[in-house]
Symmetry: C2
Subunit: 271 residues, 2 copies
Amino acid sequence: MSGPLEVLVDGAACSQGWPQDRGLLYGDGLFETMLARAGRIRFESDHRARLADGCRRLAFNADLARIWDQAAVAAARHGNATLRLQVTRGEATARGYAPSGGEQARAILSVFPAPAVEELPTRVSVVTLRPCLGENPDLAGLKHCNRLEQVLGRQALAGRGAFEGLMASSAGFLISGTMSNVFLELDGELVTPSVERCGVAGVLRAVVLREAAPLAIAIRIATLPLAMLVRCTALALSNARIGLVAVHELDGRTLGRSPALEQLATRIAAL
Amino acid sequence: MSGPLEVLVDGAACSQGWPQDRGLLYGDGLFETMLARAGRIRFESDHRARLADGCRRLAFNADLARIWDQAAVAAARHGNATLRLQVTRGEATARGYAPSGGEQARAILSVFPAPAVEELPTRVSVVTLRPCLGENPDLAGLKHCNRLEQVLGRQALAGRGAFEGLMASSAGFLISGTMSNVFLELDGELVTPSVERCGVAGVLRAVVLREAAPLAIAIRIATLPLAMLVRCTALALSNARIGLVAVHELDGRTLGRSPALEQLATRIAAL
């Protein structure tokens, strides 16, 4: 585009930063938060698959082979680390929401220390939150950078003394935690909410569903009205950083244990 | 936070940019697109009010008085221009979605040329789009930086030969265009969709509603199922950059003229 005549950041002329990156302008980006263990990215193929799906659905021009090569080099160099890989659509080439199609994706890889063992929760409490998740089938499942709903969720969680908060869709269906997917024991059956209308299709969620089969554990993907949480007898959270973690308390009510979910957690931790 | 151990951008060590700005990470920001005319920002008090509302609702630590002073100086220096003022929550001080509360907002003011007269549409055609807007009352009305739905809307509009596309909520109610609010003549009455559950409370929309009263023009804010568009007899789009613009064609159907909307457009252009 004919670029800006001037850019001021906090009142001063800006000679750095990417003030016209579409990730910054519109949250027009995707990300993966990953663990590196002994120099390798855990569940790399799942992260690759989700990022590729996002780039395809949002029509990013991204050299994913090169981006993953760079991530692998960083993982090997750091050994154990948390990697946050963000891919934005890139610098805006035109003003306004419409991509020109000529943008080239920007990859930002931030390397953080690996979670310390004492940081990793074992049994946690969760509460139900009021802020909701808007439904949008075109964005559902993606780990995109429009995350204000999760920010509102975390703000609502502050001071409530719980590790995680559960969020429902605007239509009143349980979807996920603010930063995790959920698995529930309900009427003697294991279920996890559908992420076809909103929510993130978590990498650990996919791993849990995949690992359940060889253990002959059935998990149904379901549309679950939030009110059914009163009938929930066991609950676990999943995300790539913490694994599959049992919940011992839901909205102040003590939950039971699910041997099947515990078996899955053990198996996945050993992968 | 204990910052990242390393940041690589497109594979190279990064010494510039704001890779940990929450605007980039999560779209955790707000923006205003404004016109400067003869050195002054048009409808500045409306833009100020909306940005202040957003900072309050999202709990940003922003020195708005200083930010607006800087915008006023830029407007005076450039005379006629398009100003895009983005305010992000600022640099992340902790990993994850939860703000620490210790972030200091970052203001990015990008100055673009004023729209050329020939760029400003007079009578335009619009089409209805398939991508929808998720409902979230906590975010509704705000001009925040989670704009992937609008990006999808503009992508769906590409190649359809229309100036703007209309978008419905996930619940099937007409909300707005991808970059404009809408005013409709329906069964002899003027209406504009509610933006209580999703959509942006446009500055020009507020101006139209305010200016209608002294002209004794009644405009009702309504919840409008998308299907009622077949009964629409006149339509206009509003945004701060283009003003209030008549639509002559909706999904291939020629619309009529609304003397009341034309009277409002003339009055607002003269403000």
